[in-house]
């Protein structure tokens, strides 16, 4: 192997981190334009890191197992919401309410994750589009359950939750009893900044879990499957089962992630909250420099900060620049979708190139 010159190293660094760098530059232009104060932005980022990191982290394990971006994470989000609805109905509040919601949601998430994994095993090679559509499909079933089942089949006592017709859950649920229960479990304030320490501790714990998990036999098996399913299978690793486990873990974690997300927001949009969860989490991860086949913990945090910085800043920047805040709002939607499209395309393109190169290397020296 030849040694790389400094120039080559820098070039390599720039290329492999192109996406985050572009976003940093964009933010550098947009922040002064928006006119937001530094304190405001820092506070906002602190909150949003706490709010979103867990959801984004839940995407890592399926990527390790070679299943791409788990668009099916919305399944987990739905499970989490069902837990929250029930707990709100029972009026269990505070940290205990959150824990109970998580405990109720876990079996649901495991069940949905199993289904998702089994479906994806039938669609090897197009996991992403399948999990994406599966998300929509399960969303339909979720709506069926929550809009028609709750209050009829599942007794809901709290009249505040139920639509006026007597069954079905209302559009917005106030989670006041659980709001910030985890965030400010350990109350610390730095100057005027509120720091959601409790959530950060949870996230840190979870990062440790991921690091530890990668060093287990199961984690090793997932890495092997992610790189070459055929070889892993021939070595006796149960491929399909392991893939299902990867998706189950991701779904359960997404479920917890959604609970953390909603306790921070404080209100739940029964029929929309989960929809956006998947898209924003995936966009954030990709902006952090992850690809369809490789994601690390730093990618998550860099991504969340950059994505939400753009998210907060762009409407104001749009207003200052174009005189319309709407432009900025559409711009951030465009960026969220655009970044996913570009990342997916780049990845597919690279894979095609790799395949060609691998073929060429077979020829050897002619």
């Amino acid at each position: 192997m030849k040694a790389y010159t400094t120039k080559e190293k820098i070039q390599h660094f720039l290329i492999s981190n192109a996406v985050p760098i572009i976003f940093i530059l964009m933010s550098a232009v947009a922040i002064p334009l928006s006119g937001f104060s530094a304190t405001y932005l820092v506070q906002e980022m602190l909150i949003r890191l706490a709010r979103n990191s867990f959801l984004v982290l839940s995407l890592i394990i399926p990527i390790v197992a070679g299943m791409g971006l788990n668009f099916g994470m919305v399944l987990g989000a739905m499970a989490g919401q069902i837990g929250l609805i029930l707990v709100s109905d029972w009026a269990v509040v505070g940290m205990r309410g959150l824990l109970l919601a998580a405990m109720i949601a876990t079996p649901i998430a495991i069940g949905l994750g199993y289904v998702c994994g089994a479906v994806l095993n039938r669609a090897k090679g197009r996991e992403m589009v399948t999990s994406y559509i599966l998300g929509f499909f399960v969303n339909g079933i979720y709506q069926l359950t929550v809009l028609y089942g709750f209050g009829k089949l599942v007794p809901i006592g709290n009249a505040e939750l139920v639509l006026s017709r007597g069954y079905g859950i209302r559009n917005a649920i106030n989670l006041a009893g659980m709001r910030h229960a985890l965030d400010y479990l350990v109350p610390i304030k730095i100057g005027t900044l509120n720091v959601p320490v409790g959530t950060y501790l949870t996230i840190a714990l979870f990062c440790l879990f991921i690091v530890w998990f990668r060093r287990t036999k199961l984690g090793q098996d997932m890495r092997a499957i992610g790189q070459d399913m055929g070889v892993a299978g021939a070595a006796g690793i149960p491929v399909e089962k392991t893939r299902i486990i990867a998706i189950i873990i991701s779904t359960v974690l997404a479920c917890y992630g959604q609970i953390i997300f909603l306790q921070n927001i404080g209100t739940m949009n029964t029929y929309n909250s989960h929809d956006q969860a998947g898209m924003f989490a995936i966009a954030a991860l990709l902006i952090g420099g992850a690809t369809v086949s490789k994601a690390t913990i730093p990618n998550v945090f860099v991504g969340v900060v950059l994505f939400h910085l753009m998210f907060v800043v762009s409407p104001m920047a749009g207003k200052q620049l174009m005189g319309q805040a709407q432009i900025g709002e559409y711009f951030r939607v465009f960026v969220s979708y655009g970044i996913i499209a570009i990342s997916l395309a780049l990845h597919a393109w690279k894979r095609q190139k790799d395949r060609e190169r691998a073929r060429r290397s077979l020829r050897g020296e002619a």
């Binding site: 039938r122 499909f137 996913i340 997916l344």
Partner: protein
Amino acid sequence: MNEKLKGFIEEAGWPRVIIGLFLLSLFVAAPFVKVRVDASISDTLVRFGMNGILVLAMVPMIQSGCGLNFGLPLGIIAGLLGAVTSIQLAFTGMLGFLTALAIAIPLAALFGTAYGLLLNRVKGDEMMIATYVGFSSVAFMCMMWLLLPYTSPTMIWGYGGSGLRTTISVEGYWLHILSDFLSLQIGQYLYVPTGMFIFFGFMCFLMWAFLHTKTGTAMTAVGSNPEFARASGIDVNRMRVVSVVLSTVLAAIGIIVYQQSFGFIQLYMGPFYMAFPAVAAILLGGASVHKASMVNVVIGTFLFQGILTMTPSVINSLLQTDMSEVIRIVVSNGMILYALTRKVQVKR
């Protein structure tokens, strides 16, 4: 008999049979819950005509092996640009409609070419990327609708704001220009938009004819076995681009036909989810991810739109609740999911 039935079900696939029976039962149940069958049929027919071409737009890409065109919004945007520009120019009647087409088609061809070139670089991952290309183009156009210098007072925000409205009425321009051509009104409720059917039929004929030309044959071969096609001297990438362009152009035409019947142009997030019903419809009609025909288009559109029309009216009167939205979600995505996870069966 039993064998025959089994064979039929196997051929059609369980979901299709279930949905077919479901639709049939809706029509049977309709009179009992005091829903007028003729009005329902009329609704179904109109929606069939409105959506037919959008579903037809799926055919070329499926045939050429590019999969389901989740990037349909790209073509729809071309159609929207055509429609909006035609109104800006204040052309009315057939002239306005044709102007919209004349502007939309070259734009769609342009978009389609770029989109096709992109899809050629990402073989195997077309569907996911197509979805997000569609989404991001819609989001991009949201900004453009605000910025583009359209001035027609029917289209821009009234109160001093700039940019186009979210919905623009085509009344006074080319509302029902196709639908009302030779249309029939039977009794009070049954309305048949003959002109729209003729146009849809003509489009289907063009598609059918194209598939019978040398190029069309080559395109089918590319979808069936790209290696074979290449060995026979076909430029596989070019054929794929041609199919994508065709699909995009059809989407542009389709949305204009849709608008003249619907009466409104929906901008901004309007085209966002438009690909999904079209995809679901063609799959419902019996197409697979690799093969589709005109029959699939017609049957699929009819079944799918039938369910969309019938569920709100019948189910609502039956259960006193509006479940149509949920049923639409479950049916359309269930259908796509079924097609994606179906193992390719090799019969010998």
